[in-house]
């Protein structure tokens, strides 16, 4: 087993390219994942920003939803940004009819909670586990987390709302570090994948 973790980016729809670039910059081998057999080959997975209803539909349609749930249940590290955060929530407060999630984090998310595009914003966000300056938070029609269960750890808040959460090997942010050129949150996730591989090989 080589030292460099292989991390997939779910490439059904969304800002896949930016995540691939950010992961490569954080010293991972990054590759797009659209099929179950591609999912089977990665050590960790990023679910990108995009349209959560579209990503969810395509995941069901192309037989990815169940394999995704199985791998997350088995402890594969996952990181979701924005729509990806919604996909990792055990519960959506206001789902579109039939909108399924992968789950993995005991939290309830509210879609488009910060508003429509005119309300999309940038703000500095201090994230637990990311040293140094706050990260530049880019929030685009972003969700927030209404509440978390006992196993989930809140990593960041903005304006009194939870915007970053970690539960075991699953990480989620309302904002898009992949759009900023600051790869510290991706580095945190790559470390999680590395630690998980070490734990599994013991």
């Amino acid at each position: 087993m080589s030292d460099t973790p292989v991390i997939g980016v779910l490439a059904l729809q969304g800002d896949v390219r930016e995540h691939l670039v950010a992961l490569a910059a954080a010293d991972a081998v990054a590759r797009p994942v659209r099929r179950p057999e591609e999912l089977a080959e990665v050590d960790g997975l990023v679910i990108p920003g995009g349209e959560s209803t579209t990503i969810s539909k395509l995941a069901v349609l192309f037989g990815l939803m169940e394999p995704l749930r199985a791998r997350v249940r088995d402890g594969m590290p996952v990181y979701g940004t924005c729509a990806g955060m919604i996909m990792l929530a055990d519960k959506i407060l206001d789902p579109r009819s039939g909108q399924e999630t992968v789950g993995g984090i005991d939290m309830i998310v509210r879609r488009n909670a910060f508003g429509r595009q005119n309300e999309s914003f940038e703000a500095a966000v201090a994230v637990e586990g990311v040293d140094g300056d706050p990260v530049e938070g880019v929030f685009i029609r972003a969700p927030w987390v209404e509440s978390v269960g006992a196993a989930a750890e809140v990593l960041a808040e903005h304006d009194g709302h939870i915007v970053a959460v970690r539960q075991g090997t699953a990480l989620a942010t309302s904002f898009h570090p992949e759009l900023t050129g600051d790869h510290r949150v991706h580095a945190l996730f790559v470390d999680m994948v590395r630690a998980n591989r070490t734990a599994e090989s013991l």
Partner: protein, 301 residues
Amino acid sequence: MPISENQAPETGTARVKRGMAEQLKGGVIMDVVTPEQAKIAEDAGAVAVMALERVPADIRKDGGVARMSDPDMIEGIIEAVSIPVMAKSRIGHFVEAQVLQSLGVDYIDESEVLTPADEVNHSDKFAFTTPFVCGATNLGEALRRIAEGAAMIRSKGEAGTGNVVEAVRHLRQIKNEIARLRGYDNNELYAAAKELRAPYELVKEVSELGKLPVVLFSAGGVATPADAALMRQLGAEGVFVGSGIFKSGDPAKRAAAIVKATTFYDDPKIIADASRNLGEAMVGINCDTLPEAERYANRGW
């Protein structure tokens, strides 16, 4: 507990505007004229809808002046779906754009499909919080729109024809011009900027990036799953489908099929499956029989 940063958030930044388009990549944006159509589009997996009064095929048929849609109709569509809603303003009609921003649309399309309001100037898109998408037939036109503040570009094609030939021409043109810039050295970029009639800084940026600094979609003539996959294989990051869906025999099925083919644009087996039994496609128009005056792509400069 982590400390929350109570710094004033900043809206309408270039990163937030361009970033919004990044989230649409790999997706299909569908023209809809009613809340019911918007729901069909959302259920089929559209990443956004374009709210308008008439699809381009009907604008062609009806003739006359095509304007911004009725605010009631746009609000009805905003209410009906949770995906982003776009709407069109006339070229240079910045008051229509102000109205669309006040309605809370997520993206404004300053579109050649509507009758231009100004034959010299496009709207100053930096003056808005709402991001803009604009059409282009070549790289110079794309960069002029970006210089005016456009946060997303779509190749124009020829809307309302159901004929993909112009979409292919415009996308190839843009991609070829980008590829050519890629090979230029610094000395050549000044002359290239002059030739493209575009700001030097943007020309240099494209030369370095090997792509536009904003997301590039394709529009104007996509009618089938294979059309959508063709545009993606040619380098479009997503597609707009106008008349192609709701002017066809089975819109829900065709919409879902185009979404599938857009995601798996490089997998002919999936495109084949998506193309089965879709019913009647929209009746197309041969672009070479289209009089110059009826070519929407010539609008905008």
